[in-house]
């Protein structure tokens, strides 16, 4: 299949997936209205700057008077403002003129609400394991973000849902005393699956980040699991498989992490087995050559299979 046929196939797949009509595609091909686009950028720029100012103002106010605040005031200025920002963001989503303000407001609420819940627990709890407080906070935020995402389908809320969901499960497994490499492996695979799904959806902008986090977690956990065991050498195969997988799912972040993992393992292996022998300088040369080869292979894989033609 030629590149042209492949591109057509991809366009047809995307059009089918997002229910795009030929008219939609024709309008998009005609190019955007430049005036409309530039006013859109300015509106977005101002909304983000506004968000930064609000957040900075709230932050400075809280830090200036934190010592003077009693418990109630501390909770109100963190959780209260965070929740108010969340409600405002929801209100903005319902008004076409203010929709761009929703993202900064959601961001402010995603920072202040967890902080506020932890402050609330810190001020009013009677002791106990702090991890339960963290679990409560992540459960609340997960519920809030997932339900809002369900209703509003915003990419930022998808990000929040995955972030607080992952935090919730990691905290839960830590409380139950699971071995960290089991938690890392399961959460890593889970995040890679979610990143793949995100990449197929209209929230693909955040898939790269979750590919990065997922592959780091998975490869780190697997190395921890296999280290010093008879199966340790399998890690090299696993890293190679991850490089192959990165070309299949077209993820540059995953390719980067997998290549780094393979290089790291080669370095670790040679240092472990050849460090105190005459062959150590030779090992260093071999590592250098491996670095060159893998680096160039990664670039070639990226160019051939991952990079999307402009």
């Amino acid at each position: 299949m030629s590149d042209r046929d492949e591109a057509l196939h991809e366009i047809a797949r995307l059009a089918k997936h997002y229910h795009l009509t030929l008219e939609d595609i024709r309008r998009a091909m005609a190019g955007p209205d430049m005036q409309k686009q530039s006013s859109g950028i300015i509106a977005r720029l101002f909304s983000y700057i506004g968000g930064i100012f609000i957040f900075a103002g709230v932050g400075v106010f809280i830090s200036m008077y934190w010592r003077e605040f009693n418990s109630e005031a501390r909770v109100i200025v963190t959780l209260g403002i965070g929740f108010a920002a969340y409600l405002l963001a929801l209100a903005c989503l319902n008004d076409k003129n203010y929709q761009r303000a929703a993202t900064p407001l959601f961001l402010i609420s995603a920072v202040l609400q967890p902080m506020g819940i932890l402050v609330l627990l810190n001020e009013y709890s009677i002791g106990g394991d702090r991890r339960y407080g963290l679990l409560f906070m992540t459960a609340y935020m997960l519920l809030q973000h997932s339900l809002t995402f369900w209703a509003k389908q915003r990419t930022l809320l998808a990000f929040g849902t995955i972030f607080f969901g992952a935090m919730f499960f990691v905290t839960l497994f830590d409380i139950w005393g699971f071995r960290p490499n089991l938690t890392g492996a399961v959460m890593g695979i889970s995040l890679l699956c979610l990143a793949y799904s995100l990449n197929q959806s209209r929230h693909s902008a955040i898939s790269g980040f979750w590919y990065l986090v997922g592959s780091v977690m998975f490869l780190w956990a697997l190395f921890d699991l296999l280290e010093d065991s008879v199966l340790e050498i399998l890690y090299l195969g696993l890293a190679a498989f991850m490089i192959f997988l990165s070309t299949y799912v077209r993820s540059r972040a995953m390719l980067f992490v997998s290549t780094l993992a393979m290089l790291g393992y080669i370095g670790y292996f040679t240092a472990e087995h050849f460090a105190n022998t005459v062959g150590w300088p030779i090992s260093l040369v071999i590592i250098g050559i491996a670095l060159f080869c893998l680096g160039s292979l990664a670039v070639r894989l990226n160019n051939k299979y991952i990079r999307q033609p402009v």
């Binding site: 005393g177 889970s190 979610l194």
Partner: protein, 197 residues
């Protein structure tokens, strides 16, 4: 429904993986406990505690003779006075809580060397010092492996589960937040067959 699953298989996998782990843990840890018979007898144990405010007491220990809890004093070492004392605690599995049995330390301080007394606070209790309670539960210290496949899978064969009472797969953890100032290991005394009226 089948079409939705086929189209979103990877997404479903991503969400269900951690949930599966939770389910597996629930099936292997929580379910046996809720299906098993709860312990019928409270556990009596002691912990060593350092107390700088308490007057020097002689070395003493708790022993059980003919179902009665006694305090036995050791030799008094005037050169090395001790400020270590023992707290007497009861673990109730119904509410999974620990309560302290307070006793008068002064009467122990006044005891002769190598003598025994019955504490009034526990004299009506009947205690079974055997390692296994009449209903089959046994006391277990922090686990250091050998917990089977699931333990190996979840906890790497090692898990500091703390102290607990166990019968088959059913286990009740003894909370360790009863006193932050305790030192040393928790000492098993016995099972309370008859409680104080």
């Amino acid at each position: 429904m089948r079409k939705f699953i086929r189209e979103n298989l990877v997404l479903i996998m991503g969400i269900s993986l951690p949930l599966l782990l939770v389910l597996l843990f629930f099936l292997t840890s929580v379910l046996p406990k809720s299906l098993g018979t709860p312990p019928q007898y409270d556990l009596l144990f002691s912990v060593v505690r350092y107390d700088y405010q308490t007057a020097t007491t002689p070395h003493f220990d708790f022993i059980v003779q003919d179902g009665v809890l006694k305090v036995r004093t050791g030799k008094t070492d005037n050169q090395n006075p001790t400020r270590y004392t023992r707290k007497l605690l009861v673990f109730n599995a119904d509410n999974e809580a620990v309560r302290e049995i307070p006793y008068d330390l002064v009467q122990i301080s006044n005891m002769e060397e190598q003598s025994e007394i019955v504490l009034p606070e526990t004299q009506q209790m009947t205690i079974d010092p055997s390692s296994r309670s009449p209903d089959g539960y046994s006391f277990e210290g922090p686990s250091h492996g050998g917990g089977g496949l699931m333990s190996e899978l979840f906890f790497g064969g090692y898990r500091n589960q703390g102290y607990r009472i166990v019968k088959g797969k059913s286990a009740y953890n003894i909370p360790n937040n009863f006193n932050s100032a305790y030192v040393g290991e928790l000492q098993f005394i016995g099972w309370i067959l008859k409680r104080q009226e």
